[in-house]
Point group: C2
Chain length 240, copies 2
């Protein structure tokens, strides 16, 4: 582990999650918290998540994440796995997925994950060191969008436009009003750039920033992480 | 004037210009230099230019600017003024300018301004304190694009996609290879956003960032200036 980071595994019912707090501020209490979204699979995602948690701790904030439905060590959902198989078949055939294929995979994930993240937030805000405000960062953008609509505790969101966007998420986006920092990898060939720009345009937030960089899906440049950190520092304030 | 900024007016032939250097590093020599582009009119633009020069001095860099053809105290060009009148007439009528109207106004400006900025650079790089590398920032984006293509001394450019973009600039953009930081005001109603995104897409640079913010044409948020400064700091290095 890291000298400056305290890591605690937790479970919400039988859903695994991780909470990271900056060690030096363990007595400070009332830490802002950033929920770290991801595409599913805490195991393979761990190195990247812990790096993001470390950057969050440098802001003096806590960070937390939760396994997604039908991912990692969680039981498989027939609905999600069937949709995932259909999506992968489409992609392997070199075709663009239809709206129906995207909806079938993403919407059950959003419908199930969002209440789980909200329940996690209920529990985490009961931890004495954590006080908020709360930010949401990264992961499946339709999950971040829904969370920003339904949970008024989310004060700011840094989203990554690198996952499939159901058309219904565009409509939901109009109801988002919190400050947003949206990251897009311009040359992410597997990504529907026009749909991502349509989503950014739809967000109802008065304060929203789109940052598009080169480097492909996984090539987000280091300065983009620093810019996202400054976005959260502007909107979550906090102890440092 | 400012405690930390030395301002020197100069003329290139009969073209007025301004050079700003950070006072504290006047003995350091070999300063990086950022050319500050603008839409024309050093008089009305002065407050914003000096603010940008101050931000540049905080990086430890020099900044310089030059009046545009047929603007400010410079003699009027019949070609440019006739084209400007046609453009303004179109805009007053609430119509989108045609490609021909855009070309007629922007291309003569680019053709005349670019060699003037290059001659300025010749002269400025002869000033003992200035050594480069050289960046170009803001102003008419077709001028910045052309400069980035024709002058290998320009090492990085921060462009503002808030002026009319001739179609030929899209083709020129493919030959740009230097690092770029492109700012776009997403809700700039007088701006052709699709054309701006097409230009960003066309730039041949491996390292390019698009940052889109809200706030209308003149409402660039303060953090966007800070992000642009960090872009130049990453690419021009320098004395601080």
């Amino acid at each position: 582990m890291d000298d400056n980071l305290v890591e605690r595994a937790f479970t919400l019912g039988d859903i695994p999650g991780i909470l990271w707090t900056p060690e030096s501020s363990s007595a400070a209490g009332q830490l802002p918290l950033i929920l770290l979204g991801h595409p599913g699979g805490l195991g393979p995602m761990y190195p990247r998540l812990v790096a993001r948690a470390r950057a969050t701790a440098e802001l003096g904030y806590a960070a937390a994440t939760l396994e997604l439905p039908s991912n990692g060590d969680r039981p498989r959902s027939a609905v999600i796995e069937q949709a995932r198989a259909a999506l992968q078949q489409t992609l392997r055939a070199g075709r663009r997925p239809t709206e129906e294929v995207i909806d079938s995979f993403i919407l059950p994930l959003v419908d199930q994950a969002v209440p789980e993240w909200q329940a996690t937030l209920d529990a985490l805000l009961g931890v004495p060191e954590l006080g908020g405000p709360v930010g949401y960062s990264g992961g499946v953008i339709a999950i971040g969008t829904r969370l920003a609509v339904v949970d008024p505790r989310i004060a700011a969101a840094g989203l990554f436009a690198g996952s499939f966007i159901p058309r219904s998420a565009i409509d939901e986006a109009r109801r988002v009003t919190i400050p947003l920092h949206v990251l897009l990898q311009w040359d992410d060939e597997g990504n529907d750039r026009a749909r991502a720009l349509e989503l950014f345009d739809a967000f109802g937030s008065k304060g929203k920033t789109l940052q598009a960089n080169m480097g492909g899906h996984t090539g987000v440049p280091p300065f983009a992480g620093e810019d996202a950190a400054r976005f959260f520092a502007r909107h979550l304030g906090g102890s440092r």
